[in-house]
C-alpha cells in the first residue's frame, strides 16, 4: 500500500487544482449559479472518493476520466435524489431536455467544448462588478483556481476570518436573481464586461508578481493561474480580443523573469543583477507571439503599453531600449495615473538623460510617503551625493513593512559604502 499512497498523494493535489474549477463550472451551468454549493460538494466528494479509492486500488489508467465519470454519476444521483432536475433545471434553463436519462447525460457531459464554455461563463460571473474588486479576486482564487481559504489568506497576508467573511458576502451577492441565468449561454462578453474580467485577471497576476507574501511558490501559482484563465479567454472568439492578447503577452514576459528576480532567501534581485540565463526563453517567445496578436488592430490599451515595456526588458542588449521604454511610460501615464508608473517613468528618464534629470523628475512627484519614492532617490543619488543617498535609503527602510524588502534596501545601502 505504502508506495501507492505516496504516488497518488502527489498527483491528487495537482489534479484538484486543475480539474476542480472545470467540474464546478460545468455543474454550476447545469444547476444554476445559486446552487454553487451543491456543485462544489459534488466535486469535493469526487476528490474524496478518489483519495480513498486510489489509495486502495492504485491510480487508474486515466485519472482525469475517472474523476469525471465519478462526478457525473454523483451528479445523476444528486439530480434523482432531490428531484433537482424538475424543480431547478427545467425552471431556470429554457432548453428542452427530455425526461429520459440518455438525454440528461448528453446535456451535462464533460466534453472539451462544454468545459471551455462553462469556464468562460464562470469567469464572467465571478469577475462581476456586483462585488468589490478585492472580493472578485478572492472569489476567483477560490472558485476558479481551487485555492483554499487559508491559501488565499496567506497570499494576501490577511486573517483567515477576514477572507472567509469576504467570500461569504461575495457568494451571497452571486445568488441574487440577477445571476439566475448568468451561466446560460451566450455569456455577455460586451466590452465593458470583458474590461472588468481582464482587470481582475491583471490584478490577480500582479498579486502574484508583486506579492505581499514571501512565499515564492504561492506567488508563482498566482501568476500561472492568471495566465491559465487568460488563456481560456483567448480560446473563445468573442473574448480573444487584441486587449486580451496584450494582457497575456504582458503576463508571459513578466513570468519569464519569475525565477531570476528573487534569491533563495526570497529577497528581490535588481533587474540589472539578475542572472539572465534564468529567464525563460519559452515564455518570452510566447509573449512575443501574443504581442504580435495584440498589435493586429488599432487598439492601444494599458496592457499593450505595459506589454511593450515588458518586451523591451527582455532585450537587455538593445542600446536604445530605455528611450523606447520612456516613450511607452509617457503614453501609459497619460492614459492612467498610478504612483508606481510615475516612479518607473522617472527611472526611465534617469536611464535616458542621466541621474540628475531623473532626480529632478522624481522630486516633482510629491510621493514622499511611499517607500519606493525614497528607494528610487537613494539609488539615483548613489553616484552624486552619498549622504542624501543614505538618508533616502534610511527613510525607505523606515517606511517598509516587509522584512525581506527591508533587507533588500539595507543591502543596497551597504553597497554605497563600498
Amino acid at each position: 500500500m505504502q508506495p501507492k499512497e505516496t504516488e497518488h498523494t502527489g498527483l491528487l493535489p495537482h489534479l484538484f487544482r486543475l480539474e476542480y474549477s472545470k467540474m464546478t463550472a460545468v455543474l454550476c451551468r447545469l444547476f444554476g449559479l445559486h446552487c454553487i454549493e451543491i456543485a462544489e460538494d459534488i466535486v469535493s466528494e469526487t476528490f474524496l472518493k478518489a483519495t480513498e479509492a486510489w489509495a486502495e486500488h492504485g491510480i487508474p489508467e486515466n485519472p482525469t476520466a475517472w474523476l469525471y465519470t465519478v462526478a457525473k454519476n454523483k451528479t445523476k444521483d444528486q439530480l434523482k435524489r432531490h428531484n433537482l432536475f424538475e424543480t431547478k433545471i427545467r425552471a431556470t434553463i429554457p432548453v428542452t431536455i427530455g425526461d429520459n436519462e440518455l438525454q440528461i447525460e448528453q446535456e451535462f457531459d464533460f466534453t472539451r467544448q462544454i468545459i471551455a464554455d462553462s469556464q468562460l461563463a464562470m469567469i464572467f460571473a465571478v469577475c462581476h462588478p456586483v462585488n468589490a474588486t478585492e472580493s472578485q479576486i478572492c472569489l476567483a482564487l477560490q472558485v476558479l483556481c481551487g485555492f483554499s481559504v487559508e491559501e488565499i489568506a496567506n497570499a494576501f497576508l490577511a486573517k483567515t476570518e477576514t477572507i472567509k467573511k469576504r467570500l461569504l458576502r461575495a457568494r451571497a451577492n452571486l445568488r441574487t436573481d440577477e445571476f439566475k441565468h448568468t451561466l446560460t449561454l451566450p455569456v455577455d462578453t460586451s466590452p465593458a464586461r470583458l474590461d472588468a474580467v481582464l482587470r481582475v485577471l491583471y490584478l490577480l497576476f500582479n498579486e502574484g508578481y508583486f506579492s505581499k507574501t514571501d512565499d515564492h511558490l504561492i506567488r508563482k501559482e498566482l501568476c500561472s493561474e492568471a495566465i491559465r484563465l487568460t488563456l481560456v479567454l483567448t480560446g473563445n472568439s468573442r473574448t480573444n480580443t487584441t486587449q486580451t492578447n496584450a494582457l497575456l503577452a504582458l503576463m508571459c514576459f513578466q513570468s519569464s523573469r519569475l525565477d531570476a528576480r528573487s534569491n533563495e532567501a526570497g529577497e528581490a534581485i535588481l533587474f540589472e543583477e539578475q542572472d539572465k540565463t534564468l529567464w525563460s526563453k519559452e515564455l518570452i517567445e510566447k509573449g512575443n507571439y501574443y504581442l504580435v496578436n495584440a498589435c493586429s488592430g488599432n487598439d492601444i490599451t494599458k496592457y499593450h503599453l505595459e506589454a511593450g515595456i515588458a518586451y523591451w526588458h527582455t532585450t537587455p542588449t538593445d542600446t536604445n531600449k530605455w528611450e523606447h521604454i520612456l516613450q511607452l511610460y509617457n503614453q501609459l501615464i497619460v492614459l492612467e495615473y498610478s504612483p508606481m508608473t510615475a516612479l518607473n517613468r522617472a527611472f526611465a528618464i534617469a536611464k535616458v538623460n542621466g541621474n540628475k534629470e531623473g532626480i529632478r523628475e522624481v522630486k516633482k512627484l510629491n510621493l514622499g510617503e511611499l517607500n519606493y519614492y525614497h528607494a528610487l532617490l537613494g539609488y539615483l543619488y548613489a553616484e552624486i551625493d552619498m549622504d542624501k543617498a543614505r538618508a533616502h535609503y534610511n527613510k525607505a527602510i523606515q517606511l517598509t513593512a516587509s522584512t525581506k524588502e527591508k533587507n533588500t534596501l539595507q543591502k543596497a545601502k551597504e553597497r554605497l559604502e563600498k
Binding site: N330, A346, E361, L365
Partner: protein, 114 residues
C-alpha cells in the same frame, strides 16, 4: 484642486508639421504633467486646414483666420492648487520655443462666479 485649461496658440506654419523630436518633446512634457497626477484631460490637437467660421446672417468662411492672430493649435486640462502652479506647467511647454503662446484659463464649476 482647481481645473485649468491650457490653450496653445501658434501661427508659425512649421507647427503644422512637427518633427519626431518635437512630438517626443511634447509627449515628455504632457507625461510629466500626468506623472504629477495633474492631468485631467489630454485634450486634442486642432486642425488648421479643415476649419470654418460660422457667423450671423449665414456667413461661413474658411478657417479661423480673420478672428485670431494666432491659431489655436490645441488644448489640455490640468488640475492644480493655484493658477500659478498651472502657469509653471505651461512655462515648460515646448510650443513656446516655436514662437507660440499658452493661455491659462480657470474652468468655472456650475454656479461659480467670475
Amino acid at each position: 484642486m482647481k481645473e485649468f485649461m491650457l490653450i496653445f496658440r501658434n501661427s508659425n506654419p512649421a507647427a503644422d508639421t512637427p518633427s519626431p523630436e518635437q512630438m517626443q518633446e511634447r509627449m515628455n512634457w504632457l507625461a510629466g504633467i500626468a506623472a504629477q497626477n495633474k492631468l485631467v484631460d489630454k485634450g486634442n490637437r486642432l486642425s488648421m486646414g479643415n476649419a470654418k467660421t460660422v457667423q450671423p446672417d449665414n456667413i461661413v468662411t474658411d478657417g479661423p483666420f480673420t478672428e485670431i492672430k494666432e491659431f489655436i493649435r490645441g488644448y489640455i486640462v490640468v488640475k492644480t492648487a493655484t493658477i500659478d502652479e498651472a502657469v509653471a506647467l505651461a512655462k515648460e511647454n515646448p510650443v513656446l520655443k516655436m514662437g507660440g503662446s499658452v493661455k491659462v484659463r480657470a474652468i468655472l464649476t456650475p454656479g461659480e462666479s467670475n
